[in-house]
């Protein structure tokens, strides 16, 4: 056997083995997701959330919303947060050294004044310049914190220090929450009789082309633009399949930074959000889990499949590229910080399953895909067309499409936000086109993320948003 043939076989069978393992993972994810979603839906049919809304036993919650240069919509966004259905709530807006007039607008709109506030620095942060409360008792739930710029993680840490309540919910200030989102997110914390629920996440959906009025979602539409529509399918796949499956195994590593609830005591004990990574959301969950594992305390990270939070997805390749680049760097940094857990039985499911999955199929997948495709093209041009490798690629492609269509089916059978048959067929079209028109860009952004990390470029990447559609705009 010549060395070229050996390399070819190694390459072909290596990719084949990787694809088979990935296929098995997808099948298992599908099966676990079905089981967990069914169980949740059955349980939810017995739940009366009005109980929580009226009870004095409801766990107290603090919403933490960091804001940086959000002056354009900050008043409406805060009003939307203040209108959420929840009894025992405080809303903390952290102005992370904005250069615009966000703070002045808040002070004026909500009749706020600076209070003497002793900030207990349980987690070290950049200095707080002032804490504001409202003269108007209607806004007694609202606290505005003005601090020096230190990034999202630092702003959240300030919020954790200032929060008075047992649990906190971190959200992106521009997200739109369902009115009962907090009631639904609070419930998992009340159910843990034998194991402590340390965090809970909810599904984030794409709000582009949806109609938002007064900070509330009034009509769900499938995004009209190409990129947001592609991301809609991506989000359905990630939230309804992957996260539900990992929840079944109690191996969930990621709760979206856009919307998640946490046990404040555990977060403080863990040292709060890590300011040295751009993937602070994933890193915190991993660290909290590691903390609990190392103390041998029974715990759970919960996830609920209800669509509770709506966010605007990037609609240009430039912004999307930055976002995916950042996600890749965040993943790598988190995996690097916690590398001790890899195949370490001390960490149970976390070390033996969740961490290896993220390493091999979230971090390495785009790299293998990128170099596999390049390698195949070079080989075909240099030697001959390698039909077996091409066959594997086609198989992987079909598998991806099948997985996407399965996700759409789960959406139809469960929450079915896109009611029209045309919308579902459009999503199926997206599933077929995505591997050719969208996925290569995502892979390329991930590769750039790896390169940037090697070059030690660790910027967050500016995220400009276009704003939601209102009824007027839509008509």
């Amino acid at each position: 056997m010549s060395w070229q043939t050996f390399v070819l076989h190694l390459f072909t069978y290596g990719i084949l083995l990787y694809s088979i393992i990935l296929l098995i993972c997808y099948v298992l994810i599908g099966a676990f997701s079905i089981s967990e979603t069914r169980s949740y839906l059955h349980k939810n049919s017995f739940t009366d959330y009005r109980l929580l809304a009226s009870s004095t036993e409801t766990p107290s919650m603090s919403i933490l919303a960091p804001a940086y240069n959000e002056g354009a919509n900050i008043i409406e966004n805060v009003r939307s947060l203040l209108s959420l259905h929840y009894n025992n709530l405080e809303v903390i807006i952290i102005n992370d050294g904005s250069k615009d007039d966000s703070l002045e607008k808040l002070i004026h709109a909500y009749d706020m004044y600076k209070v003497d506030f002793f900030v207990n620095q349980q987690i070290k942060t950049k200095p707080v310049r002032g804490v504001y409360k409202s003269h108007n008792p209607v806004y007694r739930k609202l606290i505005v914190v003005d601090k020096e710029n230190g990034g999202k993680a630092d702003a959240l840490n300030v919020g954790v220090n200032i929060a008075h309540n047992d649990y906190f919910v971190c959200i992106d200030v521009d997200c739109v929450l369902e009115q009962d989102a907090l009631l639904k997110l609070a419930k998992p914390f009340l159910e843990g009789a034998t194991q402590r629920v340390i965090a809970a996440g909810g599904v984030v959906r794409i709000a582009n082309s949806c109609i938002i009025e007064g900070g509330r979602l009034v009509k769900v539409n499938l995004p009209k633009q190409f990129l947001p529509r592609m991301q809609t399918l991506e989000y359905i796949r990630a939230f309804l399949l992957s996260r539900m499956a990992w929840t079944k195994l109690n191996g969930l590593l990621l709760i979206s930074g856009a919307f998640g609830a946490f046990d404040r005591e555990i977060v403080i004990n863990c040292g709060g959000y890590n300011t040295n990574t751009v993937g602070e959301d994933m890193e915190l969950v991993v660290r909290m889990r590691r903390y609990m594992e190392e103390r041998d305390e029974p715990y759970k990270v919960a996830f609920i499949p209800d669509p509770l939070c709506w966010t605007e997805a990037p609609s240009t390749f430039k912004i999307l590229g930055r976002q995916r680049n950042r996600w890749t760097r965040g993943t790598i940094e988190t995996l690097r910080f916690h590398k001790v857990m890899l195949f370490n039985p001390r960490y149970g499911i976390l070390g033996m399953l969740s961490y290896p999955y993220w390493l091999f199929f979230e971090f390495l997948a785009p790299i293998i895909e990128f170099f596999g495709t390049i390698g195949l093209i070079i080989y075909c041009f240099t030697y001959a067309i390698n039909w077996s490798a091409i066959l594997i690629m086609v198989g992987v492609l079909c598998m991806g499409i099948l997985y996407s269509i399965f996700a759409i089916m789960m959406e139809v059978l469960t929450y079915n936000q896109y009611k029209g048959r045309k919308d579902i067929l459009r999503l199926v079209g997206v599933a077929v086109l995505e591997p050719f028109l969208f996925h290569p860009f995502v892979v390329w952004s991930a590769i750039r993320g790896n390169i940037d990390l090697i070059r030690k470029r660790n910027s967050w990447g500016e995220m400009t948003r276009q704003g939601f559609a209102t009824e007027k705009k839509a008509s």
């Binding site: 059955h42 349980k43 049919s45 017995f46 109980l51 929580l52 009226s54 009870s55 036993e57 409801t58 209070v115 003497d116 506030f117 002793f118 207990n120 620095q121 349980q122 409360k133 419930k187 914390f189 009340l190 159910e191 843990g192 009789a193 034998t194 005591e265 079909c398 499409i401 099948l402 269509i405 399965f406 759409i408 089916m409 139809v412 059978l413 048959r421 579902i424 199926v428």
Partner: protein, 341 residues
Amino acid sequence: MLILGLLVYMLSYMYFKSVYDKKFDKWSLISDLLIRKAIFYDDDEIEDHTLIPVTARAEKLMRDKHFRKLLVNEITSAKKNISGISADNLKHLYVQLGLEKYALNNLTSSRWYIKAKAVQELTIMDMNEFVDQIYSYTDDKNDLVRMEAQSALVQFKGFDGLRFLDTITSPISNWQQIKLLQQLSHLPPSDIDMGLWFKSANSSVIVLALKLARNYHRFELHDDIISCLDHSDSWVRIEAIQCLNEIYTDETSDHLISRFLNETIKNQLAMIKVMQTIGTDKDVLFLLDLLTFENDEIKIHAARALVQSSKNGMISLEEYSKEVEYPINEIIMHIKGEIAA
């Protein structure tokens, strides 16, 4: 092939769902009519053997399990929102149509959600006669079945329904405790004997007993609550601490102070919060001592308790701040701000 298969399944599902939705709309009208007829049935006419008129169409549809499910859902949701004679009439209709037999049959199902639904249905329909059958599910291995059965007992027997707490071994989650307390809040207070519950090996039973003692101001249980401060489970201990906020005597703060140093930070903070309510001048020295602790959270809680529990609390605090400036001076400003607000 698989892709095509999934597509066909999904589109067929959507098609049949829309067909069923239309059919359900028609069925909904029939069941609405039936329910309305029962609700407004003349109260003089209804007796045990009186039959509420049911149309032939509805009787025929009763053989269809989907229609029965729809009808039961509508009857139970109507029953939840009404009371008095109209509610009795709905129960009469439910029994007349023999729907309780299906529910009883479902109680033996191997699927937990069917079993739990059956318990819930019998509870909403006030089918007290099946309370013994339902009792056996109060310690079921499935949490939902257990929860529904426990709620049923409370619904049927009020405070006496809590007798399942004497023997229960499974944990009662906070969610279920909220549900039970909410159910009980509609009933007149009771002085049910809770002695056994305070000695339960099941921590969640003790926690529920503590919540009941707190909500119903059972001052005679003070000593039982104090004994919970030495329980091995910190969940029980913190609940007992919070309970003392409502049920206390002149000596309660001494009990808290004597156990303070052995507690977790979380429970220590809960203790200091309670001292805000129950503390007196005799506790000033203890609270001042807490200002020397390293943990700033303890300091701020202690300062607050000092100000609220003693007339001279603020003066003592200001005196102390002359010796140790930071962070006490900032904490004083913070607390003054709270008082002003």
